[in-house]
Symmetry: C2
Subunit: 341 residues, 2 copies
């Protein structure tokens, strides 16, 4: 297995009867070098298929052009759309991306941060593991390299945070239900006060208040680990109430789909008797019958935006760390599980 020997600066210097320094500067368009020399060098470089040894370069400059990305779960459809944006934007800007999965395990997450730094990444993009308690290790990372958070974020970490407009999106979703004549709207949310869940709940409350609808604790349901099955179970609970809701807003699509499955099972008409709105626009939302009205989260845009902020911070280091929240607009998609207004 013969390894092809790569062309180095030395090879070029020898062939052109120049010094290595000059060749290096010429390729980097250093203004000291005459245009004609630069051109001669570049010509031969392309001819000999010169590609810089990024390792030597990175070793010398402490820059690798590799970014670290940590996500809780790579199988979530929303995550993969974000990764699409992350991959394409970083490629455009000349960076590569190392991806790790924290599996929502805080210990793993900390380890990953460490080894990523060890692998020489220039910056880190991260969605926090659920219930991340010890912010300390993350704050320490920030002393070393730039960090940008997305999706799962925390006010306690002073850095750029790219999120969707959760509160407003939830507000719009609930207002949509109100506009189609619904007045008793249940919510299925997380018990745990994650950033997203909290914001979406706030949007729900604001929509009810601004439309002078009563807030009824009996139809505000929470669950530890929100999922399709939990959506089903909680919807069963709602159906056993004397005073049933006429709509359900679930803060995730999977819970919303669980709700639809439960309603279908008991032959509750959707959206006539009970309408359903979800959150995320998973692929599943068009598979279920009736198709699910939901909030579309533009994952690719979130990914692209987060990466461009991160690279900006790498290339233009900031003096001070401060929290900067970037909100990406979402879009309500109305399908068959709610009325068209």
């Amino acid at each position: 297995m013969s390894k092809k020997q790569n062309t180095t600066l030395k090879d070029l210097a020898l062939a052109l009867e120049l010094s290595i320094s000059t060749v290096s500067r010429a390729l980097n368009d250093h203004p000291d070098i005459s245009i004609s020399t630069r051109e001669r060098v570049k010509l031969l470089a392309t001819k000999l298929h010169y590609t810089p040894n990024l390792f030597a370069k990175g070793f010398r400059t402490h820059r690798t052009h590799i970014l670290g990305v940590i996500v809780p779960n790579i199988s979530h459809y929303f995550t993969t759309t974000i990764l699409k944006g992350v991959l394409s934007e970083s490629e455009n800007l000349g960076y590569r991306v190392i991806i790790s999965e924290s599996k929502n395990d805080e210990i793993k997450q900390t380890e990953m941060l460490e080894t990523m730094i060890q692998f020489g990444v220039d910056g880190i993009l991260m969605a926090l593991a659920r219930k991340t308690k010890s912010i300390d290790s993350i704050l320490q990372i920030q002393n070393r390299i730039p960090l940008v958070l997305f999706d799962k974020v925390s006010d306690k970490i002073p850095c750029t945070q790219v999120v969707i407009n959760d509160e407003e999106a939830a507000y719009n979703a609930v207002e949509h239900l109100i506009n189609t004549g619904k007045t008793r709207i249940a919510i299925i949310k997380e018990t745990e006060q994650s950033f997203n869940s909290r914001k979406r709940f706030e949007g729900y409350l604001r929509a009810l208040k601004e439309h002078n609808l009563p807030i009824d604790e009996k139809i505000i349901l929470s669950t530890e680990d929100i999922s399709l099955n939990k959506g089903k179970m909680l919807t069963n609970n709602l159906l056993s109430l004397k005073n049933r809701p006429d709509a359900i807003f679930a803060i995730t699509d999977s819970a919303a789909i669980g709700a639809i499955k439960a309603l279908n099972k008991f032959n509750v008409e959707i959206p006539n008797e009970i309408a359903v709105v979800g959150f995320s626009n998973n692929i599943n939302s068009t598979i279920i019958n009736p198709s699910l009205s939901t909030v579309d989260q533009p994952g690719e845009k979130i990914g692209r935006t987060a990466i461009s902020y991160l690279i900006d911070e790498i290339e233009n280091p900031k003096e001070t760390l401060l929290t900067k929240t970037v909100e990406i607009k979402t879009n309500l998609i109305v399908r068959d599980s709610s009325f068209v207004p």
Copy 2:
């Protein structure tokens, strides 16, 4: 923003009044170094949180412990399950993974191979872009670093290829339909003769032959780009036949789900009138109603297997390149779209 200064071999050597060489050898458990020295060095190393500068190391040894992975589309659920296996296994073995998306674009794929090599990856794991024609650029890669293919593979590239038992899996799926009394089984496949499509079709044919069922071209349907919508359309075609099939085997879940949607629309009873079996066990297959019988592809196992072969080739370089096909067993999951045997 104060960058923490990392401990280096030099720091350790100075503190211990040893030479850098000795410290290096001690940490690498070189047999020349006395046990007591090794222990002294390691003790201080952990105390000072020494972590080797992998860049210096990689630069010196031409090994980076970074692997390149190229997939056509990171959003496909099956792909994400493979990536899960890839990430966890590579982490276990001390490697990191750079991921790129070829978007089924052969040109992009070639570029990605190039830049990955430039970024110093130790080996590459790849699922081929659809319709990859020019094997040349890939064969050239093999002269430089180990390559392992998975899922989308090609007989023309002499390397380890990790795939599922497509032919057998399809055979089992069709046999399952036959065992439940179905005798006129349609297939929805790809026009293009990809490795997977071809193998699955062969399994279909063998099942019919071995059970002495006639092969009828009218119910062998092909499409360029197999998808949910194409599944729907082709099923509509099947319904308009004078002699309808009593079962449909679709070589992807999305096409199978399209088929179910079409059957539901025309109130065809599933599985009584027409049964449906898909391929992949996507999350969607439990969302659709009736739930889809399908072939489960163990993505994580495929990922783990492929990575372990790749790392083995990196760490124990082979003299000659040869095609070695590793088949991962699949499992038929019977749900409501076909009868329980």
